[in-house]
Symmetry: C2
Subunit: 492 residues, 2 copies
């Protein structure tokens, strides 16, 4: 520790808010504040330091976002139990509170004198899944697309409720080329990423049901999707997955009525299975019996490394039950916040989504829609998928070669996409591995964090291999190899 | 009618989808299909015409969006009762289904041989409220801002959950300059327009309550906001407004528990009142008693034509109860889909919104956030507000001069903003006026459409004066003058 807790220095160029955050963080990292300790009330601390209360509130809020503090309405704010792990939350789309907060702090004080203390908790090599590589994006085409869109006449009206026609047509083309999905521009709804697509569908289910609506989700699965659905007031029910994907047998056992099931048939998230044809047909049969929708989350299937791509589940659907959901978060970048849903021939669903969008409107800015359309039309997206596919396939082989043959550890999930899973035989291994890697500055996620059923956690880790550069990735894989070997030896 | 209903011409360059829409529309406009008539099922029509069912579904969906057809799940699709009025829906932000659909159709077939039939229903001069003027926007600064944003390094992560720091800082500056709101970047949450801001708050209320959550809304008011709140599974309760804004007396009478009240204190929407200080304090007292939030919808208060601007209600709040919501939809354009909320010093609310955004993420694309920040920093937004303020003030005087002294009609709502209201003494006048204006190609909205309590509609019209050019506006005002005089004479 290079200073007392919360001695603010107004002569220092560092903004007071940043000093507040650093001071408390330093107190926690240095052990002055321990897990479970209450921190001073915002009012008391503001008075003590002579700063505005809102500055203290903002600092606490940032620290809560980073996982250092726990805030509860009506209870004192305390130091979090997990404050020193730095990986309390996971998100497939990089929705990690720590990232945003860290980036914010860095931007506010880019040149703060001392090396920023929060680097201690921010990983040096971040393998938490969710981020693609943007290093080889054709930035000329990117800039040209935005330039084109910004030069169009500035509309004084909201974008059309289902999106800009040109972008809808380009997305339909993209899906035909990249995924073999046959659809037309009329079937596409432009969304603010997968998040808004799932939120929209959940809202239509809630509005349509004359009882609490319910959606079945995969377990383990994508916990963020479950939260998005629940934020619309819709219940979720867990259905276990096996090596191939969602278990149709278990699906039949869940109580009805159930309004929809959300699945990742092309590449189960996170385990990586691919749902075989028989199970796909079984899933559609179940949907007919249950009079339910199927939300097909096609989050990374543009990238297929092993075996031929399988057509989307939506292509087997002739009853208007499957809604395909996808985004450009893996294909380009989650910074674009651009996704879509493909509407089946289901007039009731179309009318319900139209009704929702008449109120909530299409949230994607007109210029962003035009730019994305121009980028797709230029061929740059197609070329980028080809380039990154080769990169990812190479990295996948590297992962396989380094981590494929470890005792007590099974590597899987590598047939497609940008992430992999290692399951461990011995209980407690993942905790040991995650902590030891964190100590060397490498962040991976716990498979347990993808559990949808509290208490039913699998022993393993999940990691992405797309985002770091070649050298950090090689270092990380070597460290993972050593760490897993050591942990296995320690367990025996 | 220049052809039989639904004779498709595959040799014609016009896409089949457009021909389908035109054919059915022609049938309705030509009287072949009458209000209440069922139309053929999508399956039957697709089979009869030899086109895909999804093409027919899309055509019906577009026609439903335009107000020609009524679709209900489980019931046959029928010709709508209001099909010939062309103004079934209203929205403050231009969320009119017809607009999007029309624009879409135009874009699909810009050069279709014959004059497009739907021009018959699209208004020639559209005075429905919601759209600002973008004619005098500094397009050089606009393009430069997007160019700057597109040239930044492409991030491979989602934007920070509360928005890009630079934009948050610029919005705080903007609010200080344009509205006298004292807040810091830390207090700003960047949103996809007012819609998402309201949706986020509604979701936190629903999540926090251990019973069905409820929000009080103004009546008459902004029906879209009510729908957005209800789409989160939150009930709404109407509170009447008087000439000054929401009635505090009535607010005290609504049953509790109630979780929030949504108000437009600067310029009541649509009636135009401004809440006096005593009522503001009364509102905050009520909020304390009820332990409720106040959602202050500050949708157009950058434009104040008469009397000094009043500080935002949020500036009177020292208990962390007022959330200010605003957007750049009036200041720039709703096409930008950019809004914000200003968080009060309320750690529980901050944590709840952070939790929601961890799941749903900040929906505004990174490039759009950087471009908006650059545009604000350039001073172009401030200059644009100054220029359009003068224009709107001039137009307001024109409206006052033309429509201010009509017998049986009271013009109001003109102290600020971009729209006005005319209330009529005689029942039925607004129907007559709206229909006669529509016959000359001029669209205005019914005040009845802003009713939040079915059966309690006021007699009047609401119209915007910002969006048309000078000449069409002058024509429209002259026609309105004649039409209202005639309607009054007819009534007596």
């Amino acid at each position: 520790m290079d200073g007392p807790l919360l001695a603010l220095d107004r002569a220092d160029g560092t903004p007071i808010g940043v000093q507040l955050v650093e001071g408390v963080r330093r107190g926690i990292l240095g052990g002055v504040l321990r897990p479970g300790d209450p921190v001073p009330s915002t009012r008391a601390l503001a008075a003590e330091l002579g700063v505005s209360r809102s500055a203290v509130v903002a600092a606490y809020e940032q620290l809560a976002g980073e996982g250092y503090l726990e805030m509860r309405q009506g209870a004192p704010t305390r130091v979090a139990q997990l404050a020193r792990d730095g990986a309390a939350h996971v998100g497939r789309n990089g929705a990690r509170p720590a990232t945003s907060a860290d980036r914010s702090a860095r931007t506010v004080a880019p040149d703060a004198g001392a090396a920023p203390l929060w680097e201690t908790s921010a990983p040096r090599i971040d393998l938490r899944p969710g981020r693609p590589s943007t290093a080889r994006l054709d930035t000329r085409a990117w800039r040209a697309a935005w330039r084109h869109a910004a030069a169009l006449e500035v509309s004084n009206d909201s974008p059309p409720r289902f999106g800009v026609p040109r972008l809808r047509a380009e997305i339909a083309d993209h899906l035909r080329q990249a995924r073999g999905v046959v659809c037309s521009a009329d079937d596409i709804v432009v969304t603010a990423g997968t998040s808004e697509a799932v939120s929209l569908i959940a809202a239509t289910l809630r509005n349509a049901a004359d009882r609490p609506a319910a959606v079945a989700v995969e377990h383990p699965g994508y916990p963020t999707a479950r939260r998005i659905i629940e934020h619309r007031g819709v219940r979720t029910t867990a259905v276990p997955v096996d090596r191939d994907g969602i278990s149709i047998e278990h699906l039949h056992r869940i109580p009805r009525p159930i309004d929809a099931v959300m699945v990742t048939p092309s590449h189960q998230y996170p385990l990586g299975g691919r749902l075989p044809v028989a199970a796909r047909l079984g899933l559609l049969d179940w949907a007919r019996d249950a009079d339910a929708l199927v939300i097909e989350d096609d989050y990374d299937s543009e990238f297929r490394h092993l075996g031929p791509p399988m057509p989307a589940l939506a292509s087997l659907d002739d009853e208007g039950r499957v809604v395909l959901v996808g985004s450009f978060s893996k294909v380009l970048t989650p910074a674009l916040r651009l996704g879509y849903l493909v509407l089946p021939a289901n007039p009731g669903l179309r009318a319900a989504i139209a009704d929702l969008r008449d109120a909530e409107q299409c949230p994607v800015p007109g210029v962003a829609q035009e730019a994305a359309a121009a980028l797709l039309a230029s061929g740059a997206v197609r070329r980028h998928i080809a380039v990154t596919s080769r990169d990812y396939a190479h990295r996948r082989r590297l992962v396989q070669a380094t981590l494929g043959e470890l005792p007590g550890a099974r590597l899987s999930g590598l047939d497609g996409g940008l992430h992999a899973v290692i399951e461990f035989d011995a209980a407690g291994t993942s905790d040991v591995v995650v902590k030891r890697l964190a100590a060397t500055g490498i962040a991976v996620s716990r498979l347990a964090d993808y559990s949808v059923v509290p208490g039913d956690e699998r022993e393993g880790i999940v990691f992405g291999y797309a985002s770091p550069g070649d050298t950090p990735l090689a270092e990380a894989l070597t460290r993972m190899h050593e760490t897993i070997l050591d942990a296995g030896a320690g367990q025996r």
